[in-house]
C-alpha cells in the first residue's frame, strides 16, 4: 500500500508546484519601494533645460510617474493611453531614461505630451534609485508621496481598471481625483 501512496504523494506535491509555476510571471519582480516614500531626486526637464523636476513636485495630490524613452517600443504602444489619461486630468510625471533630448522632444511633439513635466535622466541614475529595470514602468504615488503601486510593462486600459482604479478609490480624498469619473468607471 505504502509503496503506491508515497510516490503518488510526491508526484502530487511536485505537480502542485509545477501547476502553480504555470501561472507565475517570471518577469514579475516585486519592488521593495512600494509602501515607501518616493526617492528624492531633482532632474532637468527634458524639454526646458532651465526647468527642473523634483520629488517635491509629486506631493500634494495623487500622481503617476511613468518611465519612458524614445528607444522603448512598448512606450510607444502605451503612449496613446497616457495621453487619454492626461486629457481626463490625471497628473502624469515622466522619467525619461537613457535618451536624447532632441529625440524626446520630437516624440512628444508628434505623439502628444501627456506629462506635467518629464525629468531627463540620460545615465539612468535616478532610475536606479527608483528600482527601475527598464521601460515602460509606471508608479502610482499617493498625495503624501508614498509609492502605492508599481507596474512593469505598458499601461493598458485593462491594467488601469484592474490595478490602479481600486487603489485610487482607496487613496483619493473626497475632492481629489475628479478624473475617476472619466477614466474610472467602466
Amino acid at each position: 500500500m505504502l509503496r503506491y501512496v508515497v510516490p503518488l504523494a510526491i508526484f502530487a506535491v511536485i505537480g502542485l508546484f509545477f501547476l502553480r509555476g504555470l501561472w507565475l510571471n517570471p518577469s514579475y519582480v516585486p519592488s521593495p519601494l512600494v509602501g515607501k516614500p518616493v526617492p528624492t531626486f531633482s532632474l532637468p526637464d527634458v524639454e526646458d533645460t532651465s526647468a527642473t523636476v523634483s520629488s517635491a513636485d509629486l506631493l500634494g495630490r495623487v500622481a503617476l510617474v511613468n518611465v519612458w524613452g524614445t528607444w522603448c517600443v512598448e512606450c510607444r504602444h502605451e503612449h496613446g493611453f497616457l495621453v487619454e489619461l492626461a486629457r481626463a486630468g490625471v497628473p502624469i510625471f515622466g522619467l525619461n531614461v537613457r535618451d536624447d533630448r532632441v529625440a524626446a522632444g520630437k516624440w512628444l511633439a508628434r505623439l502628444g505630451d501627456p506629462y506635467v513635466s518629464s525629468g531627463f535622466d540620460p545615465e539612468g541614475k535616478v532610475a536606479i534609485d527608483w528600482g527601475v529595470t527598464g521601460a515602460p514602468e509606471t508608479f502610482l504615488i499617493g498625495s503624501d508621496g508614498t509609492i502605492l503601486h508599481k507596474h512593469i510593462s505598458p499601461l493598458t486600459p485593462f491594467v488601469w481598471q484592474r490595478d490602479f482604479v481600486p487603489l485610487l478609490r482607496e487613496h483619493c480624498g473626497p475632492s481629489d481625483c475628479a478624473f475617476l469619473a472619466a477614466v474610472g468607471a467602466r
Partner: protein, 139 residues
C-alpha cells in the same frame, strides 16, 4: 586538421558567454578589481531571467555595474553595495539572499531533501538486509 579546427571553433562558440562583459573601465588596483568582478557575479540582473549583471547585456545591468564600480571606488564594503542594490531592487537581485523567514525554505530545503533521501536509502538498505538469502536462486 579540419576536425581540429571545427572543434576549436565549437569551443570558442561556447566560450562567448565568458567574454560577454567587461569592455568597461576597471580599477588600477587588482584587489578592487577582484572584488568588483566577484560582486557583479553575485548580483542577479533584475530585468533578465537568471543572468548575473556580469553576464547580461541589458542596459540596466550596465547601469548597475557602473553603480557597483562607483560604490567600490568610494570605499563601500561588499555588504554596503548589496544593501544599496537590494533596497532598490529587492532581495531578488542577490544570488545569496540573507537567511530570513522568507528564505528559510530556500536555505533549509536542500537539507530537508537530503534528510528525506537519506531516510529512504536507510529504509531500502534495512529491508534488503532483513531479506533471507534465497539459496536456490543464485545471482
Amino acid at each position: 586538421m579540419t576536425r581540429l579546427a571545427s572543434l576549436l571553433a565549437l569551443c570558442l562558440l561556447f566560450a562567448s558567454p565568458v567574454l560577454a562583459f567587461d569592455t568597461e573601465a576597471e580599477f588600477d588596483d587588482p584587489v578592487l578589481n577582484e572584488r568588483y568582478r566577484s560582486l557583479i557575479r553575485e548580483i542577479r540582473c533584475p530585468k533578465c531571467l537568471n543572468e548575473s549583471i556580469a553576464e547580461s547585456h541589458a542596459p540596466v545591468a550596465a547601469d548597475l555595474r557602473r553603480e557597483v564600480r562607483r560604490l567600490i571606488g568610494e570605499g563601500a564594503s561588499d555588504d554596503e553595495v548589496k544593501t544599496f542594490l537590494s533596497s532598490r531592487y529587492g532581495e531578488f537581485v542577490l544570488y545569496r539572499p540573507p537567511v530570513s523567514p522568507a528564505t528559510w525554505a530556500l536555505w533549509g530545503g536542500p537539507f530537508v531533501f537530503l534528510g528525506v533521501g537519506g531516510f529512504v536509502f536507510w529504509r531500502i538498505l534495512k529491508t534488503r538486509r532483513d531479506q533471507p538469502i534465497d539459496e536456490d536462486f543464485p545471482a
